[in-house]
């Protein structure tokens, strides 16, 4: 009997390659290609007065230098607005090379192509660009003030303004027995994958064919956008995402200026051209996220039940809006988490600043929303003197209320409707794991030792598996090898293993015979991309459906060959056999031979499919009317809506009474993403998310000065956590299957990072006894809050006052 692989924590099939240095990342390809480098704006906001490239022309090894003036066709136009939205009334998108104005430090102005990167950088250093500086607009407050505009086309620096409301939230707040207001801030961080972006373009002049390798989260997106920009038929462009050194959202943005310019130059020069982003470029010219100013007004009853919730927030979208307003839309909906306020109103303004663009970074607006909601829950609990978990319980959507429709529109433009989840069950598990009910004793013991500790909690719901669709193609070769292709890309999620597990089970073959390809438009031309925790849900189900199609065909062919009924057949270890009579059997490889009637034998196995090999039914064509040659199948999965995963985290922190250093002592996670394909991989995703969340809560921020210079644009100054900062993570799972897809799965990729900022804020607040309203928080900032609290400028938490009085 074949062991069931779905649900098994098997080691990854990609790892032997990756642990021995045999991965093939973007910069590992294209040896001998010309190298591109860019002159980028040193100013946050300026008019380009003059560009003088003459000093660079005689640098030995320089092949070409391009400014906006040199660009032609659609390449000279602005980059595409990827996701238009009616509320995005002033969309602005950059040009590949800035023609007249630059709107953030790092915006590309001149492109140099040279024999190698050293030479290209030498040439960049000799190009002189004269600028007339214009007033920078840095941060949400400056954007709101609108003393200066980023774009003349966007009055008030407002790119978008959106209101969604269910019920009369303001009336509900006004009429509630209790009311609170909170003003909150969360700062910028970024995806910061270990491998930056990169693109290699190979123009085949003989075939008039463009092959692009890109470190992207969407090979089909890059292919289509480059074809459009270069005026090439789609059939003449292919895009391959090789091994990708992490993405976390930064690489779903596309096409990057470089993704258009490098292929354009490759065709123009008829040479292979490669650009590999260095770390400073990644800081100042890719993408950031998270920064929001939030105002919450909430009305609630004596039990802490939220009767009305009225949220306004101001979202810093950076200099351009190529990815639309997906991030603030997600914040405005996913803010609700596992709760059901009586009435809800949310209003946001998406604002331009002269800083790096803001597009989804793992969590994509959810960490901000959860932060707003969970800070509010803690504030309600404190106001009422109630247990923080009890207040959350009082607001939970219950399992029997599923599916639960919030009455809002989600990021896919479809109803924001939860499919399943057991929030009380998750909370019970979390309380048991962290020792919630024994907390008073824990704290007392610590305090007796002169230590200051706090317990924090945060709950979230994550819409995953967003459409529109993904496809799967499964093909059995005559050798029995099974090729699987899906179009979305892989940045470390282990798709070569997880999708192989699905197919091996569905088809009844050993996993070692299954080979998965992702992110290659040659193998699967219809795809969307890897984002929104969607790969397992959308591609996972697509490959399952494709495998089922192959299985059905194999059984048809075998029933015919063995002259038995299909219902009597099973597939075990790649062999179709009659149940109870295993001697009556035929391998899938042989069925693959028979499925493809041949005129010519090319090997021993193929002889069986040639015209004189055996008896044939002359009344029928060699390939039946409703069949195609080959033992293969293709299918697509297109969900009606997102499926909603959820989780709850708790942390115990210790704050140093003198230095205000913050240490996470324990970090506990309850995670529910439905059925698990590979628990080891899911757990790894959770660990990694928590690691990023800890960075965002305590260490990482983008430090812009008033002139719009990013002061910490390197790993020397941007404090990404090392192993010494990220805590051991304790995890437990619930499995509430999704009713929305055949495999019952929900996405897991982003989950870990979503509530961490909220949880850490909650824990520090609990340790310190005064409200935490701005994150991330450093020891210096905590020390300053203590000073202000001691000076009477910050209120005490009520429970803290009660405990100490």
């Amino acid at each position: 009997m074949t062991t069931k692989l779905f649900g098994a924590p098997i080691t990854r099939r990609e790892d032997p390659r990756l642990v021995s240095g045999n991965g093939k990342y973007l910069d590992d390809l294209g040896a001998g290609a010309l190298a591109a480098a860019f002159v980028r704006s040193p100013y946050a906001h300026a008019r380009i007065v003059d560009i003088d490239v003459s000093g660079a022309l005689d640098v030995e090894g320089v092949v070409a230098i391009y400014t906006h003036e040199d660009l032609d066709g659609a390449v000279a136009d602005r980059l595409p607005l990827l996701i238009p939205h009616p509320a995005l009334t002033a969309p602005m998108v950059a040009y590949p090379l800035a023609p007249t104005h630059v709107k953030h430090v790092g915006e590309p102005v001149v492109m140099v192509v040279a024999a190698d990167r050293y030479v290209a950088e030498d040439a960049c250093g000799r190009i002189r660009v004269d600028y007339e500086q214009l007033p920078p607009v840095v941060g949400v407050e400056a954007a709101r003030a609108a003393t200066h505009l980023v774009h003349e086309e966007a009055p008030g620096n407002v790119a978008a303004h959106l209101v969604q409301e269910v019920g009369d939230a303001r009336a509900a707040v006004a009429a509630a027995p209790h009311r609170l207001e909170l003003d909150l801030f969360i700062d910028r961080s970024a995806s910061m994958p270990m491998e930056g972006k990169g693109v290699l373009a190979q123009w085949n002049a003989d075939d008039q064919m463009m092959r692009i390798y890109s470190s992207t989260q969407t090979a089909t997106g890059v292919r289509a956008s480059v074809a459009a920009k270069l005026g090439l038929p789609l059939a003449k462009v292919e895009c391959i995402a090789p091994d990708i050194g992490g993405g976390f959202g930064a690489k779903i943005m596309h096409p990057w200026a470089e993704e258009v310019l490098v292929p354009w130059a490759a065709r123009r020069l008829n040479r292979d051209v490669k650009w590999v982003e260095d770390r400073r470029e990644h800081f100042i010219s890719s993408t950031h996220e998270r920064s929001q100013v939030q105002h919450v007004e909430v009305g609630f009853d004596d039990d802490g039940r939220v009767l009305g919730l009225d949220v306004t927030f101001w979202h810093d979208n950076g200099a351009y809006t190529p990815y639309g307003i997906i991030v603030p839309i997600i914040t405005s909906t996913q803010l609700l988490g596992p709760y059901k306020p009586g009435a809800y109103r949310v209003e946001f303004f998406s604002l331009y600043t002269t800083t790096v663009i803001v597009t989804p970074y793992r969590g994509a607006g959810r960490p901000q929303g959860v932060y707003a909601m969970e800070r509010t829950m803690d504030a309600i609990a404190d106001y009422l003197g109630k247990d923080r978990a009890d207040v959350r319980s009082a607001n939970f959507i219950l399992p029997e209320e599923m599916p639960y429709d919030h009455g809002l529109l989600f990021q896919d433009g479809r109803p924001y409707k939860y499919d399943s989840g057991d929030f009380p069950g998750s909370l019970a598990k979390l309380k048991a794991l962290v020792g919630w009910d024994e907390w008073a004793d824990y704290r007392a013991a610590a305090e007796a030792e002169g230590r200051r500790v706090g317990l924090g909690i945060g709950c979230y719901v994550e819409g995953t598996g967003v459409g529109p669709y993904e496809g799967g193609h499964v093909q059995v070769e005559t050798s029995g090898r099974v090729n699987v292709a899906t179009g979305l890309t892989t940045q470390g999620q282990g798709h070569q293993t997880a999708f192989a597990q699905i197919v091996a089970d569905e088809l009844g073959v050993p996993i070692d015979d299954v080979y998965v390809t992702t992110g290659d438009t040659r193998k699967m031309a219809y795809a969307v991309g890897t984002f929104a925790s969607r790969a397992a849900v959308v591609s996972g189900n697509a490959v399952a459906l494709a495998a089922r199609a192959v299985r059905a065909k194999a059984l048809r062919l075998a029933a015919n060959a063995l002259e038995v009924d299909e219902a009597d057949l099973e597939i075990v270890d790649g062999i179709v056999r009659v149940v109870g009579s295993p001697e009556s059997a035929i391998p899938l490889g042989t069925l693959s031979v028979l499925s493809n009637p041949l005129r010519y034998a090319f090997d021993e196995a193929a002889k069986a499919a040639t015209q004189f090999a055996g008896a044939a039914d002359f009344s029928k064509p060699p390939v039946a009317d409703d069949e195609e040659p080959g033992l293969e199948g293709r299918d697509f999965f297109s969900p009606t809506q997102s499926t909603f995963a959820n989780g709850m985290h708790a942390a115990i922190v210790e704050t140093d009474p003198v230095t205000a250093e913050i240490t996470i002592l324990r970090y506990c996670v309850i995670h529910d993403c439905g059925n698990l394909i590979n628990p080891m991989i899911v757990e790894g995703q959770v660990h990694g998310g928590v690691g990023q969340g800890v960075g965002g809560a305590l260490y990482e921020r983008m430090v812009y000065d008033d002139a719009g210079q990013l002061l910490n644009a390197s790993f020397m100054d941007f404090l990404m956590p090392y192993a010494s900062e990220v805590p051991h993570v304790e995890t437990d799972h619930l499995m509430t299957p999704s009713p929305l897809n055949p495999l019952g799965v929900k996405g897991a990729g982003e989950a870990g990072c979503i509530p961490v900022t909220a949880v850490i804020a909650s824990a520090i607040e609990d340790a310190e006894g005064f409200p935490i309203r701005s994150m991330p928080i450093s020891p210096v900032e905590l020390w300053e809050l203590r000073r202000r609290h001691a000076a009477g400028e910050l209120p005490s938490l009520r429970r803290h006052t009660a405990a100490t009085s």
Binding site: V19, M194, G246, R279
Partner: protein, 158 residues
């Protein structure tokens, strides 16, 4: 151009290099050893970690000319033919990698760490890896793998 002779993964090379060529670029661009990758350019991420005469160094912080007469081991020279090094095996077994980009440097640093301290505690592993960034795993399984690998390197006694 400066002539250097350096042994990389057991093979002796003699090459003329520009004095400004970084070791990592020499390994990647000249020798084709692209298993060693670049993550940050500033010596903070450790993705480019290799061994120089048996001790870990960040190959983006050394010039190729500085390795003249020395021996360099990269991730590509760690396995014994088709048999993975115990640390490589431990990384696989513990799911200590996701995208794999930091992995070559992380493994080279882990081997160095264990060479110095054959039985590290969890805290010692975490401290010993300070200097190598991973953005995928939250380090949880890396720490586990290094301890398992340490046990395997010392013959199963951890």
């Amino acid at each position: 151009m400066t002539r250097i002779t350096v042994t990389v993964d057991g093979t002796r090379y003699t090459d003329d290099v520009e004095p400004r060529t970084l070791l990592v670029q020499y390994l990647r661009d000249r020798l084709g050893k692209v298993g060693t990758v670049v993550g940050c350019d500033t010596g903070n991420c450790g993705a480019c970690t290799v061994h120089l005469d048996g001790r870990s160094v960040k190959s983006c912080q050394l010039l190729a000319v500085q390795t003249d007469g020395h021996e360099v081991t990269t991730i590509e020279g760690l396995a014994n033919g088709a048999t993975l090094h115990p640390m490589q095996e431990a990384f696989r077994d513990c799911h200590a990698l996701q995208c794999g980009f930091c992995t070559p440097g992380m493994i080279m640093q882990a081997v160095d760490l264990v060479t110095e301290n054959p039985h590290p505690t969890e805290a010692e592993v975490r401290e010993g890896l300070e200097g190598n960034l991973c953005r995928c795993t939250g380090y949880h399984n890396i720490v586990k793998a290094v301890q398992q690998g340490a046990g395997a390197m010392s013959g199963g006694q951890s």
